[in-house]
Amino acid sequence: MNPLKLIAAFIGRKPLTWSFHVLTLALGVGVVTSLLLLDRALEDRFTKDLGGVDLVVGAKGSPLQLILSSLFEIDVPTGNIKLSTAQMLAANHMVKASAPVSLGDNVRTVRIVGTTPAYADLYDARLESGRWWDQPMQVVLGAQAARQLGMTVGSTFVGQHGLSPGGEFHSQFPYRVVGVLKPTGAVIDRLALTDTASVWRVHEHEAAEEAQEQGVAKPGAGAGDREVTALLIRFRSPMGALMMPRLVRATPDLQAAVPAIEVARLTQLLGAGSQVLRGFGIGLLALSALGFFVALFAAVNQRQRELALLRTLGARPRLLLGLVAGEGLFLGLLGGVLGIALGRAAAVFAAHVTSGSGGPPLTPPPIGALELYALAAALAVALIASLLPGLVAYRLDPAQSLKAG
């Protein structure tokens, strides 16, 4: 005979009631932990993808869109900027490192990014195999892109216009893979990198064709008016963060976006929704605490005579208190563990859905302190709920209960 057997016997009488309360608790714990997991995953994703970029310069439009499109590679670009402008900014003495970004095509949803090898330096990406390009139409694939496309050094493919499937194929301009990068965990893993000139070549041809069709020479389609989508900049010192945006603002049709500020804004925007959900989760936790309390209270009342019997057998009041608290904690533990499993499953599922619908790929952090806190919270809920019923059991007068029967 031990306390656990007794607790199990008590719980076993009302399996449905207790299943319901454990499930409520698990849902509360699950909602809160899944949100925290996703928050962490998103923060982690943004931190990695920032790659130490201090400023993004691109065409006028929403600064958030500029960051999302050119840095995180999840939105469409705001437009293009002149190559000469980008070169002018890159040459500024406050700029420590910079990389141009030219978007336009994709290969089976993997974005083809025209840039320079300096882009890889922003993310400390190293070659796994092959080499960097030495002429246009050669491509270096990110680790995940290579896996997703099933391509290695020597593979060839044609780009498709636009950033999502359904565009026109640029069949006359096949790309050849010359290198594959090691995984970094950052956005570069998901891209196909090529020389900026490749993007020009593919699209100038298109422009020329269009011009021919219309029978007019498109003005400004020459080499002097080449464009890039954006320029990613890392500063030499914090001074740059003060000076450069002013310089950009003075140039027409140009905007500068600070990734740190835009990420903060984005998290705030998302935060509103997740706060509502979090409130809902905390509400569920409070509700389950109340449910536990009511159920335990009713159980103690129903068991009065049995508890009195235990007292006649020599049990101290402390044992009765312990039995009620033990019952609450056992159910709390069950709800906590179930909730953590539910929360993780929900987070993984949400991450899957997000990345499937064009959002950033998210990886929930490994099991750790967060789960421990969630378990502690579930146990605390159960313990608080069992205190008063436990006290009632503690103060039970066996003589009164026995006479009442």
Partner: protein, 212 residues
């Protein structure tokens, strides 16, 4: 050996019943008689240290259970007094054996499952040892409760209306079982009852007086 003199028992501030004088030697039995509502149960609970003693004295082998405090009283009751109720016998969801072992568990005594098994077999409950308590008949449950009252070799066995609503044969069997329990454990036995059928089996009687 139980000696009671001028016992007034009740709850909180209210005395409920009085018992003039009662002496029961080990292995012997006495009936505590009185009509319903005369306070028999209260007097019995006072002997077990569960109801309040306002006046008089209780002496069980030199100890007054109602004079002990808190945990000491609980422990004394658990290890020295066995109690059998009218219909509150076992805890559902536990096996018959575990219901017996509840006694040493609650009283923090070593759990001797060999003795518990032997007692159950002796009382004809061998086949029910591993069965859940709720599957036992009322009579079987009461026998198990008697076995539990014997388990820790108490000095005193108390029974509260053990034969109420039993037929004559069952009443006789329960009376024999209780007498045997007292003999085998060398304990004094007090049965609170208004069942006159038991008078034939236990000649020593004492009257409970209700206090208005």
């Amino acid at each position: 050996m139980l000696r009671v003199e001028g016992l007034t028992a009740g709850y909180r501030r209210k005395p409920v019943a009085r018992l003039e004088i009662l002496t029961v030697a080990n292995r012997e039995a006495a009936l505590l008689l009185g009509p319903s509502g005369s306070g028999k149960t209260t007097l019995l609970l006072a002997l077990a240290g569960l109801a309040k003693r306002f006046d008089g004295s209780i002496d069980l082998d030199g100890v007054d259970p109602s004079g002990l405090r808190g945990a000491a009283r609980d422990r004394f009751r658990g290890s020295r007094i066995g109690i059998v109720f009218q219909d509150l016998h076992l805890i559902a969801g536990l096996s018959t054996l575990d219901n017996l072992l509840l006694a040493p568990f609650a009283a923090r005594q070593p759990q001797d499952s060999k003795r518990a098994t032997a007692l159950l077999e002796e009382l004809g409950l061998g086949p029910q040892i591993r069965q859940r308590a709720e599957t036992l008949s009322r009579g079987q449950a009461q026998r198990a409760a008697i076995a539990r009252a014997m388990l820790l070799r108490p000095r005193l066995i108390l029974a509260d209306e053990p034969t109420a609503s039993l037929d004559d044969e069952a009443c006789h069997t329960v009376g024999l079982l209780l007498a045997r329990a007292a003999r085998e454990t060398d304990a004094a036995l007090v049965i609170a009852t208004h069942d006159l059928r038991l008078k034939a089996m236990f000649p020593t009687t004492v009257q409970a007086e209700a206090l208005a």
